[in-house]
Symmetry: C3
Subunit: 327 residues, 3 copies
């Protein structure tokens, strides 16, 4: 255990030891969610505020459930329904939440750097749940957790990230995590969505999926945001699928032990074929399960840092709830 | 106790013994909600997801409170606010929820059969909270519970279902429950809303309310969905009320011990007069109270089936919370 | 302790002893929220329904967290998302909630007197969370709590309420509380927003802020509702700020120990300058913290009245949760 941070803002700033501490802790918490009574008292009496100023259900629910399984009290504040932000700066909104003695603010916001902005100004632990196209650290941690669990290691693996990378916080956080842990990362997609600038992050870029299929140990597909304006970036959905879609035919050319990953929600028949998404090498649903374990781990670790628990000494409190112990 | 099902999908498939088990269990749980501390630890550490893909507040709140009084953790996901379903099939949405180790998915959905569709594909318990015009099983169970509690029996009673029956899942589930338990069911309403096809379900049909008033032991009114397009079905609201509204004058011709029921929300002055809705024979609010008890019972019974509790042996765990017992 | 009421409807009807009981109880509960485990078991097994039929996030979250820190179960029902009210009267909605054995209904509603209307008809405790332009009692209680905490007393203090008073429930409730406790209250603002009728409540009125600055021990600013149609009331926002805004220059003329208060959210640069809002004399964020403590106190006191606890005998149950005690 080498985790001293009370915030989780980016993968970029994490050391290999810190990432490893998160992975190891998540492994303990994954077991908790498979119990009959899937709760531990680690965060009892703590207040977790889900401040989601961009629409999200999946990530919000994952964090909400993670907090509840740690016995915390959870408050959801979402943008469209929220008057809290009316005429208010983000800082004022967050200061008001902190004034309720909130211990954690889980922030989703369209502005890159907004979690760091809050962390510099508040006492509460800030957890970045996605800030614009900047980072989505818990997604990257759950992705590397899933790879390590399935393939036993990250170091030396060939990981392909495929698709709509330009504005993707998932891609950026994954690139940081994977390269720190020694993976060889290749970005694949149309040149309009995979600019050369990414090479500065230590990755390889390819615009020809068919030349890359046989090399990858892991293919992590990103969702094509076809709801948004993407006309400038590729001619049509059908065109995209024909050149960059992971069809069954393409899948058959991949390594036997390849992992197929996707942060969801998947566009069936667009970036991935049904047979591949539902096939034996797909770990899409395990990513969801692991995401919950990872979010429990992140809340647990940042809480310990917050209350000043001596690092390196405390094993995860994942003992079962006692019969007479409060939930 | 003869309940082995981990899902509650329809009344149609339930045996008389199963319905009776639900009624008896609900009686125990009704008492819990009258306590100072109205909780029991039966579902502690379980996760209940309210997946309401059609708008609903009443049924959602009833299920949410039922789950909380059983000490479960509850997550609400509703359609308009939800991005979880964006570009996703229902199956993918539900699989994602299950991947969070949810124990229960309470589903409201516009598609008839959607709960069964999920039950065939998931490990979580699926509870049907209304699927299109198909079934609304907990509503029917709470209705027969209320009748049995008030009149001591179901067998042999004359039960009138009055109103907007054509697309009503409440009517369908009630017909199944009442006929299984031996009641004589009569459907009453305009012929456009009460088609002859219903006779195949073992009920009598009448288009003349005034000829039926004196026969009924129970009158269960359905809400006239006048927000929706109903012009094709009757000329006007005023016309409907004059022919099929339960006015005070009509009420005075009913049996002295008649029960007046309504699943709510009521349209005062449309399908029912104020004096009748608020009168001594109205059990509208008791239906709400009983609905909560019945939903606690259904969660309790399906949970026991899920964890493999030996049927026929376990009495409901409705002992009070101990002073030092977790909620 | 002299609190016998099971409802909190208005400040107008409270005695000085009752207000004092609320202030003293809130002081105990404020300490609870500073603990590592910020919960007490006082309302375990109770059901609190937040029925917010006008949009609100701040007050809803404050009540929600107050109830959770007292270990109650909380259900949120908000207007726009709610079908519970479709075609239903407020009374029917509330009766339906009560039928779920709710112990508390926290009501925000646009109609003045609506909490009283419910209190006359329901058994549940009704807490007024803002009824039109009538009252907002918990806001006034938290405001006087903050003044008493900071300045040691209310009696004899000069309290200025500044701004958009005409339709303000915050102003009305504050006037009742402050005058009962012996403060000298002065209302300041444009004559269109501060009509002479307020003098009947025992306050002084002034239309010249610059003549009042040096007299005030407390300045409580109200939010200028510039989103709403206010054209009839003052020429422009800039005009308002130049005459009634609490600029840095004006602040420098106030007493050294003045308290600057605001119920939030603040319009920076409109009714208050940044330097003042964030300055050493501003207690805006402490009001938020105290609001939570006060709402815990109100729920606690009305609950005791509801269950018939002997008044004057019970100290607040603010002992820490025991290790083996349920949350």
């Amino acid at each position: 255990m080498q985790w001293l941070r009370k915030h989780l803002l980016t993968i970029r700033e994490l050391s290999v030891d810190e990432i490893t501490a998160a992975l190891d802790t998540a492994a303990s918490f994954k077991e908790v969610s498979s119990r009959q009574i899937k709760k531990v008292p680690a965060l009892r009496g703590k207040t977790v505020v889900n401040l989601f100023l961009e629409p999200s259900t999946r990530t919000r629910v994952s964090f909400e459930l993670a907090a509840k399984r740690l016995s915390a009290d959870v408050i959801n504040i979402s943008a469209p329904a929220s008057s809290i932000t009316k005429g208010e700066t983000l800082k004022d909104t967050a200061k008001n939440i902190e004034a309720l003695n909130a211990d954690f603010i889980i922030l989703r916001h369209s502005a890159p750097g907004s979690p760091k902005f809050l962390a510099d100004r508040l006492n509460a632990s800030i957890i970045n749940a996605g800030d614009g196209s900047h980072e989505h650290p818990t997604q990257a941690l759950l992705d590397v957790f899933t790879i390590r669990e399935k393939l036993g290691r990250i170091d030396g693996l060939n990981v392909m990230i495929l698709g709509d990378i330009l504005f993707s916080r998932v891609a950026r956080s994954n690139i940081w995590a994977l390269t720190k842990l020694g993976a060889n990362v290749t970005l694949v997609g149309p040149s309009t969505l995979v600019p050369r600038e990414f090479e500065e992050m230590g990755v390889r870029i390819s615009y020809k999926l068919d030349e890359e299929l046989e090399k990858a140990d892991v293919i992590n597909l990103l969702r094509i945001q076809h709801e948004r304006q993407r006309k400038a970036f590729f001619p049509s959905i059908g065109e995209y699928t024909s050149v960059f879609g992971l069809t069954l035919k393409r899948f058959q050319r991949t390594k036997p032990g390849v992992l197929i990953m996707h942060p969801g929600p998947i566009n069936r028949g667009v970036e991935i074929a049904n047979e591949v998404a539902d096939g034996a090498r797909s770990v899409v649903l395990e990513q969801v399960t692991n995401g919950l374990a990872m979010r429990m781990a992140v809340l647990y670790l940042t809480n310990n840092a917050q209350v000043g628990t001596r690092p390196g000494a405390t094993p995860p409190e994942v003992l079962p709830m006692k019969e007479d112990e409060p939930s």
